[in-house]
Symmetry: D3
Subunit: 340 residues, 6 copies
């Protein structure tokens, strides 16, 4: 089984040792991006994952490819060209001080790619699942077109489409997002939507914006899910992560999923968070892994939830966990004692 | 508006990665000291801040100056000479193990400076506020004389004087502190006093010494404040930070202020602490910033409190936060989620 | 007073900055091992401690010796030879992700040593106490023989024997452990037993295996202790650490001790854990320190408990705390505020 | 005396420990750029230096300002706005492997600034010298216009103009460079030209392109200098660094200067090079420092040469040397032994 | 074209910053081993390279696989099992102090693999070239058998065999090496032999053992090459690196090759060495790359030489250079100046 | 055999990665000092070495003791008390930029110790050799007195006295040095004198001060040695290191020794220097090691020279080399190739 994810991977420059950007004399250099993170998760779990993007034809692009190849993601479809690698600077918060992200992704090789560079007929041959997030069409009109063409191809060839709405206020407005996503949603079979995604990307009220109290809004999320399915009946699965974020380190996480008309709730985890990024991508990868491997819905949401909270314990965008670790957490008996 | 702060800045050598001094093969080198920390805070918030001290005429003094200049503090008044830079070694504690400070400040350029090196007539021309802490007169009789002369000049020229009592048991005894501070308090218009400061520096009972239960002693602090104002009626504002320190990482913080006969309470923050130093300086800078910029008392204490707890999330003595971050925390709606 | 501990010390390679082994481009290199940890603790507390082991005759062995000598452990009895230093790779967990240890100790100089290399008559001359843990006999039949011979010598010469059962599932099965330990227990005067040690090493039920709820099983532990003493009446002291491990960072710790027929309970500590290894060794060293220095039983268990939880605040296997720090924690009045 | 330099400063990301970009998991973050480097040198030598540029209004811009302020450069004229900070990645070579620079400066705040943002009437009031390099007009037509307007203002107000030709093949072609520089040269009073600058920026043959044998081409450089002066008679001083670069670490350096019709040669230094960047900027700053402080021509070229080779011993773009160190090297008697 | 290399890759632990092992509190962790280094070089140059080995089924094995995959080496044939990853500790020398290697490879997964684990019929299907070095048969009798069986398969199926003699005194004696290699040499078509390889592995005198004067012994090497070819006529190519090593940093490098009866000499490079390991592997990879891509002999030896000396400028076992960099050095005109 | 060395050991804070002090955000922390360096060398070579000093009774003193104990130096005589540990900041130079040392040793525990704290009768019981350098009496009149008393005791009890003149211009003037050393020299049996030591400490002309040309002044050194012996006939051995320092990295080293009326010359080494400190201490330790172990004079000077130049390859004050490494260098046949 082969899953292709389509999006941007950026160089991520993080200040070490909880320093502020004003203090840093070094940056830790890794790579990350929603769809790339999903590809790495899937390849780490043993699924066949291909990542499609465009990297500049320089050493930063080479390093991006090597990062993906290291985790056994198929990089053979990656386009090379354009002028630069997108970058994001990451300043981890602490306690009451929020994490701070400075994007420097304008003009990147991927953001300036044209739709014609992606010949879906060739790319999607032998692909069994297609994954994208709302970030990709938000980057440019050309990429919106590319996504649309890919979706159309998938519809014709019955390739399931998974979409994480992944609303980003720094990339587009709710109006623009809704105009786009409402055109793309009719192709989506599995939808992931967290936090403000329902309201911003789809115009459906679900979340009051208070990250301190996400979990108690589960009913509103469920209602929003039902509205999505009512509007886009081909969408057989829709899943959301719910969180109570008390501070940068301290939060509670759960999730719910609507599948073929029934809701499935994940257990709730009390978390001490190392890094609060890319947990949604880890969750999405868990949902896809369950889909690809034929998990029952309850196992699927539980697996995705465990994968997601494990991501919170790891530094970097990539969810470097093994299937056994996810299983151990799902089936946890004696807790987190060392085995020795 | 120009604020001059007068005191010592030291080279701070901290063990990395929570190592003990016995383990460390490296030290992180920064600079800090109560009055310098206040100057950096004020300059970072856009106020005109001048730091007055004496540095040795060597590379460590140059580096000290550069640190201040980097954050836009005016260093033009700094004296150079003497033999050495004061140093303090900083071993951060963890959980039930307290943070450990090894002072190596004896014989520093500032501690051995003479009062005659500070020609206040020139120094204080165009200065609008004068700030010192109890550390400065504690360092030597000459510095006590210098502070006294500065206060006298300020009184004559109606320059408001702000004093953080900042009692340090390793520098002087309560008897010596009280003898000195009771002579200086008649010049002080804004007083900052935390923890054991009331009893040790002024001989007024306020705090039972149990840092685990500071907040519940708020009434005693308020009573002490009223006694201070009764004794020194020129002191129109007096403010205190109150804390419940459960462990090195885990504490609750609030503050109260007596201004023109009325009390103003800050909200309480539950904190996961990165570094528990210099939060009092950040608080003092917040109070001064409010004073200089004409904040209403409630805004002033809330601003100072938010600035103070943000310091707890930052490594190093310097409170490298922006005005907007303090405002965001004061007006917090949705918590500490990332903006992206 | 001279205590000799007998066991293996390994090179410990830990990933920095909470990285996973898959991410690490560096390892922090220290040394550790149960009996060596105890020797370092005792020497740090001022007791005369000798560590007996076998190191390879290469630079890693030299470094191991230097580590012990640095903390004033007597290294003059260490044998040199064999082919390699045992290694263990240490990947610290976070939150719900457990700490991960990869052992690479097979074929080490110590594990391949023969009983005849340890001439106990010479080694134990002038030794006042003999300490070993269940790891040593678990490593090989020769080492089991060596331990047995040492115990026999001690019995004849009335040298008290202290044994930490220290069951390691990766080294031997419960059956093998019980067969061995039941032969060794008749020589043991002071026994340390935690977690699964009672059931795995001695076949006595005490612990249900749920590390989340160790403290509430105190009665079962006490009952197990009584069974041990009933079976091995020469064992006058038996002590256990009890823990509720909620997550890698968050746990509660207490301990209990049966001494001459009476139970002594330690206070309970709520801990934010830096590193959860070697706390049992720190506890054992505390018990021995109390024994050697004639502490009353309640002081002994309280001292061992405080030493043990301080270890949780320190990186590395070695409990680099001073007697005064343990005393401060035992007598804690005002908490963990800095002294300055 | 106040010197204003006008150009771009970039974030510089260097791989640590001689790693290749493919190996690096960290980057050392500093700032640098030709005209900024000159400003820092001048301020470090005690001259009044102002740096004019445009930084993005984000944390990377703040950090850039702080870097300059730290070394006492006046940052009050810096514009803020635009989208991004220019970046360059720096992979230091070794032996026969050349140093590798990956530029990521397209679309930077400065490169996209308009000429109208620089109101020279205000900016150049009280400025005594104006410095720019060929990089600035190479970045955009607007910046070429801005430089032209500045030069025109200087000509009218008799502010000496210093220009380092600084040809960059990655920014423009020789044709474009010559078209521009030939329009700007009539305003230039002091010209710095190294390596391929004469031929590429001015179309005057001087250098055969072989960096292994620069010094033996001194006569051709002198002839080129005479041609420059013949063509632009207002240019009273023109100076060049000459080098024999045998390997990344091993090179010989000298310089020559034509001043008011006479040549002045610097001594030759055999160098073990730490970092081969920004030595030309250090040289230029030395020439300007001599100009501003009225050095005789021989002292001026010797000072500039010593400053330049000292830069080769320092990591980072900024020439962090003190006047005394330059003097010591110029007057070297006993060599490089430690003073202690 | 697909090249399979067969051998051991070890975890390499290097002290940072030129520290001695006695000083190191960290080790830099990379991976390396002769045949793996060749595979990485070939894959980096665009050839299809498969590495065959056996890794333990633990995280260190996973990391080894990821390292190879990162550089696009095919890891699909790697066996997993056994107990441990071989390790080598690397202490870089300086000046007159030689580099020091502490091997800890006994009992590794590969060294304890059996010949029957390598089913050459399957493994070598579609393989065009087979590469091994003398280290592999030196590790165990089973691996000697495995190599022999592979060579026999290659002979039958006309797959060219490349062998780097790679004598290692710490692994076997000259007698043992000669007994083995003389049995394997009849299968070898391309032979690489440096330093003491001729005499130790083949019993043919070539080198007097003085690394300070290797280059002047070129004639003896050529004579030895002729003897090899006379004895093993199927060996159409034999190449050697020659060196004058004056100190750890300072050496001169050249090479010579006998191909179809004619000698081809490489140019000589004066080198400042970063790390003197694995240059022979880089050379071997260059020879193979030339073979696979049909280079003329002079181009082949020049390419291999340039690749080899570039390795000397890079930290780690892997020769992370691009084809263009090798070409630039071969065609060097203007030396090592930066391009910018 | 037991050698006691008497002097000061300081905390040494070195900037990492060749940074200047102005750039450093970290310092590498080690310990060093002339007499301590000698003690560590001797203990590393297997001689019994005791270091006598006074450390402050704080964590920095503990760490100093641990450093010595780690290398098997007897620390049992170390006094504890006073206020502070002496510090020196170390900024390594490069090429033409000299290494820079900033001393911060005023007021250290040792410098403020009194002569009465050293009860030589007890201290020197069982001591076979006494070693001090000119730094110790330079630190204070009390320490001069202490050294004098020790020398007197040694004379009476026929304990050989070794003195390294070790002139330090930052500690005392030539006049003061000569006044003191001329009183101490009558007790000295083995004298070490380098560079300006003859002229500054003894008033005997030997060296013209040009470190670039030390070796060619060997005859003047020999003449000076003869004058010393003529004046102090009990001094049977006097040895000097001679150097040509071309740059921080590049120098040539040799040595000469006058023993019982005959000169013995060491071979000359061409060195690439890692760190140019403490090579004289390594040399002195080599001379003492030869003395204690009955080397013939030529072996003694050759051994000391090899030990000294090996120190130049090591970071830190301590000469962490093994006897075998010194022997290998003395008997060097094939140079610095790796053994593997």
């Amino acid at each position: 089984m082969k899953i292709l994810t389509f999006g941007e991977m950026m160089l991520r420059l993080k200040t070490p040792n909880n320093e502020r950007i004003m203090q840093a004399s070094q940056f830790e250099a890794t790579y990350g991006g929603a769809e790339a993170n999903v590809a790495v998760s899937l390849a780490s779990l043993g699924d066949g994952a291909t990542f499609l993007t465009k990297f500049p034809d320089n050493l930063l692009g080479d390093r991006g490819e090597a990062t993906l190849a290291q985790y056994h993601v198929d990089t053979s479809e990656i386009r090379r060209g354009g002028t630069r690698m997108g970058i994001y600077f990451f300043e981890k918060g602490a306690s009451v001080r929020p994490t701070n992200v400075v994007y420097d992704r304008a003009g990147s090789a991927f953001a300036t790619a044209t739709a014609s560079e992606f010949d879906w007929e060739n790319i999607l041959t032998d692909v069994d699942y297609f994954y994208f997030s709302g970030i990709t069409p938000a980057l440019s009109a050309e990429l919106e077109l590319a996504v649309t063409q890919a979706c159309q191809y998938c519809q014709i060839h019955q390739i399931p489409v998974i979409c994480d709405l992944n609303y980003r206020a720094k990339l587009w407005s709710p109006e623009k997002a809704q105009a786009t996503m409402n055109k793309l949603m009719p192709y989506v079979n599995v939808c992931l939507a967290h936090d403000e995604d329902f309201v911003s990307s789809l115009g459906i009220e679900a979340f009051d914006g208070n990250m301190r109290h996400g979990i108690e809004q589960k009913d509103q999320f469920k209602s929003a899910m039902q509205q999505v399915v009512a509007k886009y009946p081909q969408c057989h699965t829709i899943a959301s992560v719910l969180r109570d974020i008390k501070s940068v380190e301290d939060s509670r996480w759960t999730a719910t999923m609507l599948h073929d008309g029934k809701f499935y709730d994940a257990p709730t985890y009390q978390m001490h968070v190392m890094e609060g990024v890319a947990a949604g991508d880890a969750f999405g990868a868990g949902i896809v892994h369950g889909l690809v491997n034929g998990f029952l819905p309850q196992e699927q949401i539980n697996y995705a939830m465990a994968a997601s909270v494990l991501k919170l314990t790891i530094t970097g965008d990539l969810n470097l966990v093994r299937d056994q670790e996810i299983r151990n957490l799902m089936n946890d008996h004696g807790g987190v004692g060392m085995q020795r």
